[in-house]
C-alpha cells in the first residue's frame, strides 16, 4: 500500500511537471490538491471507453486525456459526438443493456430524469465514500445546483457535476451609452431599455433571444423564474398556464415583437450571437458559455464593449436560470472504479480551472470561481467572471426535471414561436399545456 502511495505521489508530481512543460497549466492553475489520499494507480492496466458530447468541454477532456492515462495507468478510448447524436446514441445503447462505453457525458437539463428512470447510471456514493478513491469533502466544493443535478431521488449520486451554464444578459455598452441608459435591474427596466435602444431604420434592436421552437423554451422558463415559479412543480404537475406563466409569456412576446430583429422566430443562439457580434443589438439573453467569440477580435465588432449583466430581477424573484452537464459511470460498466476515477479527474479543480480560463465552460466548483489565482488566468473580462459568480448565488434550474424534456421544449416552444407571430399568449399556453399533459403523464406511468 505504501509502495502504491509513493508511486502515486511520484506519478502526480511527474504529471504536474509534464503539464507545466507542455505549457498546459497557464496562469494560476491549481495543482492536484484534492488527490492527496487517492490511490490513482489502483486500477492501472484497466481500459475504459468514454462517450463525450462534442463541445469545448469535451475537447478539453480529450486534450488532457494523456495526463489521466499517465496519472492512473488506465487506458482511455474516448469519442466525441455532436450533442443531438450523442444523446440518441447513448440512449439507444443504454437501453440495450450493453453500452459500449463506461463513462457518459450527459446534459442534466435534458437527460437527468430519463437516466434516473432507466437506472442507467451507477450510484457513485460508495466510491465517493471510499478514501482510497476519493478525498473527504469531495462533494462539498460543488455548488448547490450541481449537487441538486447530481443527486437522484433515492439520494444517491449519478453523474458528477462537470460544467454549469448560467443565463446572463450580454449588453452593448456603446449602444447603452449613446442613449444614456444604464444596465436594467428589473424586468420592467429591461423592457424599457430594449424599447429605447430599438431603431429599425438603422437596423439597431434593443433585445435578442432565441425564437426558434425548442431552443426558445429556456428563455421563457428563465423569465418565469422571475415570477418565482418553475414550469413544473415538485409532483410533476404542469404550471405552464398559470397567471405567472402567462405574464412571463407576455413579457417574452413584448421583447421579441417590439425590440428584436425581424426574423427572430427562426433564431437559435447562433443567429442571436451573430446579430450581437455585429454591434446592432443592445441586449442578448443566453447562456454564459457563448461569451468567448464576443471578445475575439477576428469574429467580433464589439470587443471590449460588452457588458456581462446578471439577469434582472423579476416581479417576485431574482433568479439565474441554470443548465449543466454531468459525467457519470454506466450501471452496466465492468470497470466502474476506473471509470469513476476518470469522472473524478474530469470534475477536479484543475480541469475546472482549465475550463474557466479557456472560456470552454464554467465548473460547478465554487472554490475555482473564487480562486484569485485562477481568475488571473481567465481570458474573459473580469465582468464575465463576476456575472458567473453572482449568478451562482441566485441559481435555479431552467428546465423541469422530467423525462420528455425535448417534447416539453418542442410543444411549449411552438406556442412561444406562435406568440412572436401575434398569437394570444394565454390561448397558446392553454393549448400547449393541454397537448403536453398526456405526454408527461404517460412518461411517468411505468
Amino acid at each position: 500500500m505504501s509502495n502504491g502511495m509513493s508511486l502515486s505521489r511520484r506519478r502526480l508530481l511527474a504529471s504536474g511537471a509534464a503539464a507545466g512543460a507542455l505549457g498546459l497549466s497557464g496562469i494560476g492553475l491549481p495543482a492536484f490538491a484534492q488527490t492527496g489520499g487517492v490511490n490513482w494507480r489502483k486500477y492501472a492496466g484497466t481500459k475504459i471507453e468514454v462517450n463525450l458530447i462534442k463541445s469545448p468541454r469535451g475537447d478539453t477532456l480529450t486534450k488532457y486525456q494523456k495526463e489521466f492515462e499517465e496519472l492512473t495507468g488506465i487506458t482511455v478510448v474516448s469519442e466525441q459526438t455532436p450533442e443531438q447524436q450523442q444523446r440518441q446514441k447513448a440512449v439507444i445503447e443504454l437501453t440495450s443493456g450493453r453500452p459500449s462505453f463506461d463513462v457518459v457525458h450527459i446534459s442534466y437539463h435534458v437527460q437527468k430524469r430519463q437516466f434516473e428512470k432507466g437506472k442507467w447510471l451507477a450510484d457513485l456514493t460508495p466510491f465517493i465514500k471510499d478514501p482510497a478513491l476519493t478525498d473527504a469533502g469531495f462533494l462539498d466544493d460543488f455548488s448547490e445546483a450541481g449537487v441538486t443535478f447530481a443527486r437522484n431521488p433515492e439520494g444517491g449520486i449519478g453523474a458528477l457535476p462537470f460544467s454549469v451554464d448560467y443565463w446572463i444578459v450580454y449588453w452593448n455598452k456603446d449602444l447603452f451609452a449613446k442613449k444614456n441608459l444604464s444596465f436594467p435591474k428589473t424586468f420592467d427596466e429591461m423592457v424599457a431599455a430594449a424599447a429605447a435602444l430599438t431603431d429599425p431604420p438603422s437596423q439597431t434592436y434593443g433585445f435578442v433571444a432565441r425564437g426558434m421552437k425548442n431552443a426558445n423554451t429556456p428563455v421563457w422558463t428563465s423569465l418565469l423564474l422571475g415570477y418565482d415559479q418553475y414550469s413544473v412543480d415538485a409532483n410533476r404537475n404542469l404550471l405552464t398556464d398559470t397567471p405567472e406563466a402567462i405574464e412571463a409569456a407576455k413579457l417574452y412576446q413584448t421583447l421579441m415583437t417590439k425590440s428584436a430583429p425581424p426574423g427572430v422566430t427562426g433564431f437559435n443562439w447562433a443567429e442571436c450571437q451573430s446579430a450581437f457580434l455585429q454591434g446592432r443589438v443592445g441586449m442578448w439573453f443566453d447562456g454564459v458559455g457563448f461569451a468567448p467569440p464576443l471578445e475575439d477580435p477576428e469574429k467580433s465588432r464589439v470587443v471590449g464593449k460588452v457588458g456581462y449583466g446578471l439577469m434582472p430581477k423579476g416581479p417576485k424573484a431574482h433568479a439565474a436560470a441554470t443548465t449543466g452537464d454531468g459525467i457519470g459511470v454506466t450501471a452496466a460498466s465492468k470497470n466502474k472504479e476506473a471509470a469513476y476515477l476518470y469522472c473524478q479527474w474530469a470534475t477536479g479543480k484543475l480541469m475546472g480551472a482549465r475550463l474557466l480560463q479557456a472560456g470552454a465552460g464554467v465548473p460547478f466548483r465554487t472554490s475555482v470561481l473564487s480562486d484569485a489565482e485562477v481568475r488571473k488566468g481567465v481570458k474573459m473580462p473580469a465582468a464575465w467572471v463576476d456575472a458567473v459568480v453572482e449568478s451562482a448565488k441566485i441559481s435555479r434550474l431552467a428546465l423541469p426535471v422530467i423525462i420528455p424534456v425535448t417534447e416539453f421544449r418542442d410543444v411549449l416552444g411552438g406556442a412561444l414561436t406562435n406568440m412572436i407571430s401575434g398569437s394570444d399568449p394565454a390561448a397558446e399556453l392553454k393549448r400547449a399545456t393541454a397537448d403536453f399533459k398526456p405526454i408527461l403523464e404517460r412518461s411517468e406511468k411505468t
Partner: protein, 310 residues
C-alpha cells in the same frame, strides 16, 4: 442427314446426364442474394410493421396496441400539417426545376459560344454536399446579415425574412432545392433533345412553323418521356429530402416547414416513441408507393408511340 458414332452417343448421354444432375443444384446460387434481400429489405419492413402495432418507447415496457398508432395519426394536427408541407414542398420542388431545367436544356441545345464551359458551371450545384450548401444558404438568408437582402436592397426591394418567417419559409427552401437540382433536369432533358430526329423540324420549317409552334407541337411531345423520368427522380428525391431542411430550419419557424421526414425523425429519435414513429414511416411508405405507381403509369402513357404496336 447426320450419322452419330457410338462415341458421340456416349458423350451426348453423359452430357444429358450431367445436366440432369446439376440442374437442381443451381438454386443455392440464389441464396446469398435472397438472404441479403430478406435481411436488408423484407425484414426491416416487416419489423417496422410490427413495431407500428406496439406502444414502444425506449426505456419503457412494450405492449401490443393494434392499430391505435394509426388512429392517432388522424387526430395529430402536427402530422397532418407535416403531410401538407411535404406535398406542397414536393410539388414545388419538382415543378420549378422542371420548368427551369427544360429552359436551360433548350438553351444549351443551341450552339452557344463556350457551351461546354457554361454547362460545366451550370451543373456544379448538383455536385456540392447538401449540408454544406444548406449552411451557406442559411447565412445568405439571414435577414440582417445575409447577402440576399443586400442584393434586394440594391434594386429597392425591402428586406425579406426568407426562412425566418412562416409564410416564406417553404418557398425559400424550394429556392435552395431548385438551385441544386435544376441541373439534373437539364441533363436529362438535354439527353432527350440530343436523341430527337431532325426530319420533323425540317418539315415544320418548310411549312412555316414558328419557334414556339416547333417547341409546343414537336419538341415538347417528343421529350415527354424524358420529362417523366425527371419528374419521377425529382419527386422521389424531394419526398425524401431531409438534410437541407434539417440544417436550415429544423422544420421551423415553429413547425411551418416540418415535413413528414422531419416529424418522423423527431418522434422516433428525439421523443423515442418508436411505435408511433413506425406508424408514420409505414404511412409515408404507402404514400411514396402510390405516388410512384401513378408516375410510372403516366410515364408509360407518355412513351413514344412507334406506330408498330410495340
Amino acid at each position: 442427314m447426320s450419322i452419330l458414332t457410338s462415341s458421340d452417343r456416349v458423350v451426348g448421354a453423359a452430357s444429358v446426364g450431367r445436366t440432369k444432375r446439376l440442374r437442381p443444384s443451381y438454386w443455392p446460387f440464389v441464396v446469398p442474394a435472397l438472404i441479403v434481400v430478406i435481411g436488408v429489405i423484407v425484414f426491416p419492413w416487416v419489423f417496422t410493421l410490427w413495431m407500428s402495432a406496439m406502444e414502444w418507447r425506449i426505456g419503457e415496457e412494450q405492449r401490443f396496441v393494434g392499430l391505435q398508432n394509426y388512429a392517432r395519426l388522424f387526430t395529430d394536427v402536427r402530422f397532418l400539417e407535416a403531410m401538407l408541407h411535404t406535398l406542397v414542398y414536393t410539388a414545388l420542388s419538382v415543378l420549378a426545376p422542371l420548368v427551369l431545367g427544360t429552359a436551360a436544356a433548350l438553351a444549351f441545345n443551341t450552339k452557344l459560344p463556350a457551351r461546354g464551359l457554361l454547362r460545366g458551371i451550370f451543373v456544379m450545384p448538383m455536385m456540392a454536399t447538401p449540408v454544406a450548401i444548406a449552411l451557406v444558404w442559411t447565412m445568405m438568408f439571414h435577414p440582417q446579415l445575409g447577402v440576399l437582402n443586400y442584393l434586394l436592397s440594391l434594386v429597392g426591394i425591402g428586406p425579406l425574412q426568407w426562412v425566418y418567417h412562416p409564410s416564406t419559409v417553404i418557398l425559400s427552401l424550394v429556392l435552395v432545392e431548385t438551385w441544386q437540382w435544376t441541373p439534373l433536369v437539364m441533363l436529362i432533358v438535354l439527353g432527350g433533345l440530343a436523341a430527337l430526329p431532325t426530319e420533323p423540324y425540317e418539315s415544320a420549317q418548310i411549312d412555316g412553323a414558328t419557334a414556339w409552334q416547333r417547341f409546343r407541337y414537336l419538341t415538347l411531345p417528343m421529350i415527354k418521356p424524358f420529362l417523366m423520368v425527371a419528374v419521377i427522380i425529382r419527386t422521389i428525391d424531394a419526398l425524401k429530402s431531409f438534410d437541407i431542411l434539417y440544417t436550415i430550419t429544423q422544420g421551423g419557424p415553429g413547425t411551418a416547414s416540418e415535413t413528414i421526414n422531419l416529424y418522423l425523425y423527431s418522434v422516433a429519435f428525439t421523443y423515442y416513441d418508436i411505435g408511433y414513429g413506425s406508424a408514420i414511416a409505414v404511412v409515408f411508405f404507402v404514400l411514396i408507393i402510390l405516388l410512384s405507381l401513378i408516375l410510372l403509369y403516366l410515364r408509360q402513357r407518355s412513351a413514344w408511340n412507334t406506330g408498330d404496336g410495340q
